[in-house]
Symmetry: C4
Subunit: 273 residues, 4 copies
């Protein structure tokens, strides 16, 4: 993983999954809010989506694990070679991917068999994120100041994301917690990209001075800007989905329940002040 | 911001907002408690207040951002100049103000469109406060002992305020949490003033010795005194508002519901033991 | 406070209050459980008790404050003398006592006026305990290893006690939390006595070596033993109170509700498995 | 305890208890889910099991305490000998066992007398685990890097286990929390075995280099692998128990409630999406 691609790959995975979770959370919330009187039977569809989500997570994890082990001088499944541990950093990354794969498996089992509470997949996700934090925390031994710092920020985000995911697995259907949690996942993804650019600048860029305090102060602020951008994008996403659901629903059920809905809507808006 | 005014400005903002939130919380609680039988239709008024609150927050954030960027040698929107980062401390402050502005925007959207849960504005506030803690934590590199210490206390207050705000956004209508949270905001504001007096004493005052342990011990205690004073003032505020609401209500609805209310009140007082 | 008596006084206060809270919690729980069918009107009595509790807390705080300020070379209300801070450690202790006094005042107001939620007094207590932790944390600058360690344990207990009290102020009527919280208060009290014996051994005892690691390891264990003893004593207290309430109630309401109660009791015991 | 057996003994205890709690949690959950219409009266049986669980816990604690005190040069109940503390490490271990014994006693009392809420035994367990963390935290003074690190991981697991147990004692019947908590207990047990193999390799194995960073990085990952294995085993256990309960129930109540159950099951599966 000690390369640009090695950081860009998990970054992309986290951004995709985070954005998908964010969109799913918004969709469910908006849909529920708009269709009190006109509820379409989308439950089987939703369940199928959850299973596919699990499959995608497993595939991502497998890609990551195979990539870490076999591409460009990975450990190739040898843990101990020539009397010493063989490329433990690569093994660390493999272990992290494995836990995310485990989450995918749990989600698939959870939604195909109906035997377990659905919050299991959230709990497993929170677990995978915490294990990631734990390993990253013990990962950057003896590196330079800025290298350690950017990984500390990663640990910081993952601990927060793990906590919010854990709280969310205990409460139910709180759209704000869901958005907060997926924002933190996306933040983690974009931060992986930032790390890639800082530590392994693509050809042409100048090197960063890894022991300059000014760089540390800039990255602190940069981290906040990532977060702010994610908020703004999530907001726009919310607005877009609301508009989409509203316009689509208008076609479907205007005729039948129009009067009922508008009456209820007024009532509701007063109620929520 | 490295000046008396640079600390007094955010201090004033936090004191004003904290005091306003405190008053609003008390008002809602006392009003609800006194008017079980005589509920005036103040919801539209309340909603309008919330929107104005958001507007004021945005204006304060803009003032702060403009002040940091352009007044007395700020970075003037140049992030990188002459091969190095340009006045990152000023940019840090701008970033903090920006997040508080974002909270204001979220509040305005939240209360004008009715599309989002109203606890969003609380969550955004908690976010803004946490981002502030995060940036302040990485802000005081290489300064003197007392300078670091007073900023640590600021980080400490903001983390607590952020946590309480977060808990409050999950629970609903707990007046004590609301008061606790706004007290911590006010504490932050008064502490900004204290920092201004310690680090940039106005002309005439003697300089503080920034490496004297005795000063640190005094400021520890001073911090507690600020907190105690805020408690006492909040208590007096509570008493004043209770008296106000009671005397105002007496005029309005004595004739009609007097007997009912007094009966109910007795019942209630037993109930709450 | 740098004396045997200065530590024994707050220790005694905490042990007394903790034991009283523990007893009150048990009493309320046992009473409620035993008297489903025969509820005596003890609410006015309970309310009066709460008010007296507040009065006692205020008196204790006043005793402590006066003692710290005026007895055996205290600061006598002079904060600044001869160009430097005057006995800040004494002022620290005064501040701590003041916050516990504030809690007493809040409790009195809370139970005499009925204007505030009753959990306010719990919240104020949690506040007072947290302020105590905060001040103790910044209190032991430049002392010897064992001196710092025993105060760290104090900070540790008070943070835990503050957290449990805070959680308890949010939930309601959880007898186990109430017992846990009062146990931690008693632990704090007995630990004050332990500190007194370690740092200021009464005449005749040998001095402790304040930089011996063995002593630190012993005190770690000793702290756990205090905790275990408090658990055992609380258990015995519980058994005693249960016996007392049962035997007293038998006299009062055997004749009337005997059959009803025994039937219900059987039902309940199955229910709670 | 400074021996292979001294670490293997508590390890075995924790694995056994953790596995038993995990199995009990699964059994209760699966049973409840499968038998909505055909509820067998197993409550007296369950209560008896809980009491036996307490007895086993007490016996384990006694074994540990006696072993620590009297086997192979333990302190033999002498706390102070020849002017200094006598084998404090052995006393530390005795203290930890004692708290687990206390938990057993609390559980026995709780389920024989019906006077206390049943969550008491969970709270006492959480207490015992926290005390264990606390003592281990102050236990490894002046040892080598890897020795300290493996004990730190133990403290880390126990703090997490204690927290989850505490949360579980406040909520009720959340099977996922119960599984999480028992997994952490098992993890602690297997980690004790790992420590035994690392610090006291059985004859024939080579010694570990206690100051090699590579070993630390391997153990970090190894810790995660333990955790992953426990997850997989818990999953298999869940599958096995589900199969067992289903096949056993089919024999008992097919004839009577077959139609009812299948109807309800379909309903439920939709409901939980």
């Amino acid at each position: 993983m000690g390369s640009f691609r090695g950081h860009a790959l998990p970054g992309t995975f986290f951004i995709l999954m985070g954005f998908w979770w964010s969109t799913k959370g918004i969709l469910k919330y908006v849909y529920k809010k708009q269709t009190r009187t006109c509820y379409l039977s989308s439950k089987t569809f939703l369940r199928r989506t959850e299973i596919w989500e699990g499959v995608v997570a497993v595939l991502m994890a497998l890609t990551g694990m195979v990539g870490e082990q076999f591409i460009s001088g990975g450990p190739s499944l040898n843990l101990y070679k020539d009397g010493q541990w063989n490329q433990l950093l690569g093994w660390h990354h493999t272990t992290m991917y494995f836990f995310f794969g485990l989450q995918g498996v749990a989600q698939i089992i959870c939604f195909t068999t109906n035997l377990l509470p659905t919050s299991l997949s959230k709990l497993m996700l929170s677990n995978a994120i915490f294990v990631e934090s734990f390993i990253f925390y013990n990962h950057t031994h003896g590196r330079e100041m800025l290298d350690v710092f950017v990984h500390q920020l990663l640990v910081f985000t993952t601990i927060l994301a793990g906590l919010v995911t854990f709280i969310e697995s205990l409460t139910k259907n709180n759209v704000l917690l869901e958005l907060l949690w997926s924002s933190l996942i996306i933040l983690q993804g974009t931060w992986f990209w930032q790390i890639a650019f800082v530590l392994y600048p693509p050809s042409g860029s100048p090197e960063w001075n890894l022991s300059d305090i000014e760089n540390k102060m800039f990255l602190t602020m940069c981290f906040s800007w990532h977060y702010a951008s994610i908020f703004v994008i999530t907001g726009l996403n919310f607005a877009f989905i609301t508009w989409l659901v509203k316009s689509r629903l208008r076609k479907v059920c205007t005729s039948e329940v129009g009067l009922l809905k508008s009456a209820e809507h007024e009532h509701e808006s007063e109620e929520e002040v």
